[in-house]
């Protein structure tokens, strides 16, 4: 089935992905997180022992499923292409920056939309930053920003990330080698098989529809084209209905238990960083996983950058904390971005401007 020849079908792909996210939330993924690329990469980095934050360690089958779903569907439809060579180290840095921005906000663009659908006004505030970040990236594109072209590489090269994903899955299912949280968000998860199937389906539909949170807004700003936005709208509507139907829709700022904070400036700056970096890297965190699955070693470098930064964020105390309810006093303790996180976020924005306005297309 051609999923991309009309806006209705694109929206349908979003609906399918929304249903997957809703099911995973229903079957045990953390409330209001459902399906977050940044959080799940962070959890997986924790499972591999890259950081020691005990509450967020779990090899998320969703991440593995996304990569493999994209890989399998692209092989099946002969769209798998092993490519590489477009400024890999800059893409690694962009991946790091995306993750640092995401963990200052507490979520990737996918989770931002899921949080928006659950009434979390912090996510709506962050959307302002995300749009501004994308607009800055588009401005850089108009000024001639380029990381250079990629080239076809050995077909084995593009498979590496999918093989690593299978390896992590085998370790997670058949050994006790990987770390797994006993409390906190890392301990909350849907059954492995469901999460894996959910990831595969999500990955396949995301590959077919080219779902991208940054790309959807980029295309609107750049070309007034709403194709990719339809996918996101479909996902949003399904999650909104799910949240309303199951009593998970809570309109407000201070909502304990959903892993979010109300530090408005840093919600905006965090997502500004993500939006800006995602346009430069050619896609949001979800899109990077999908592109990596279909053979792009450049996108795979961005994914590796996200893993490394996720570990750094927790090792160096950069990640924000969520507003929580004190179990003993029943008082709401406001979440916040630590000083280290704020400094890191500002450094990231400076680095983005340097990358955006020094890497230019070479005229022939």
């Amino acid at each position: 089935m051609n999923l991309s020849d009309s806006k209705k079908k694109l929206a349908l792909a979003g609906v399918v992905c929304g249903i997957v996210a809703a099911l995973l939330a229903y079957f045990g993924n953390p409330a209001n997180m459902a399906f977050c690329i940044a959080c799940f990469i962070r959890d997986t980095a924790g499972a591999l022992g890259m950081h020691q934050a005990e509450a967020v360690q779990y090899a998320r089958p969703e991440i593995i499923g996304l990569i493999l779903g994209s890989f399998l569907i692209s092989v099946a439809t002969k769209e798998y292409r092993s490519t590489a060579g477009s400024s890999p180290m800059i893409r690694f840095i962009l991946g790091m920056i995306i993750m640092i921005g995401a963990l200052v906000f507490l979520g990737c663009p996918l989770r931002m939309v899921i949080r928006m659908s659950a009434g979390d006004l912090n996510a709506w505030v962050a959307l302002i930053g995300f749009i501004l970040g994308i607009a800055t990236g588009v401005f850089a594109l108009k000024k001639g920003f380029s990381l250079g072209r990629s080239y076809v590489s050995n077909k084995e090269s593009g498979v590496v990330i999918s093989v690593i994903a299978v390896g992590i899955l085998i370790l997670a299912v058949f050994t006790t080698l990987l770390k797994s949280s006993e409390t906190g968000p890392g301990s909350m998860h849907a059954p492995v098989i469901l999460a894996l199937i959910g990831g595969l389906v999500f990955g396949a539909f995301a590959q077919k529809s080219r779902m991208c949170f940054a790309g959807s807004i980029r295309d609107i700003i750049l070309m007034k084209n709403f194709d990719l936005f339809c996918v996101i709208a479909g996902l949003f509507v399904v999650m909104l209905v799910f949240n309303l139907a199951t009593g998970r829709f809570v309109l407000g700022f201070d909502t304990p238990g959903i892993i979010a904070h109300s530090d408005h400036l840093w919600n905006i700056l965090g997502m500004y960083t993500v939006g800006f970096a995602a346009v430069l890297a050619g896609g949001c965190p979800l899109r990077q996983l999908i592109l990596a699955g279909q053979g792009s070693s450049d996108a795979a470098m961005t994914v590796v950058g996200m893993f490394v930064a996720a570990a750094l964020c927790h090792n160096l105390g950069l990640a924000a904390s969520g507003t929580a309810l004190d179990a003993e006093t029943q008082e709401v303790v406001a979440g916040a971005v630590p000083l280290n996180g704020k400094v890191a976020c500002v450094i990231c924005i400076v680095v983005l401007f340097i990358i955006a306005f020094t890497n230019k297309r070479e005229s022939k």
Partner: protein
Amino acid sequence: MRKKELKLVITFHTTADAMAMEKVCKEQNVPGRIIPVPRAISAGCGLAWCAQLEEREEIAAAMKAAGIEEEAMHECMV
């Protein structure tokens, strides 16, 4: 909904090439517009230049003069 018709769709190696194409075409009144690469052509998410089939020669000449290299020229329904 706008009826789809067979168009000339030019893809590029980088988004920056597509942006350069837009700039050159606007300056020189070369016909066409920038569009997302049609899904039927690519699983990537770059930009492409879309024009009428009969404008192929004029566009190719403008690209050559400006030093913009295409990845491919397609004819597809847009």
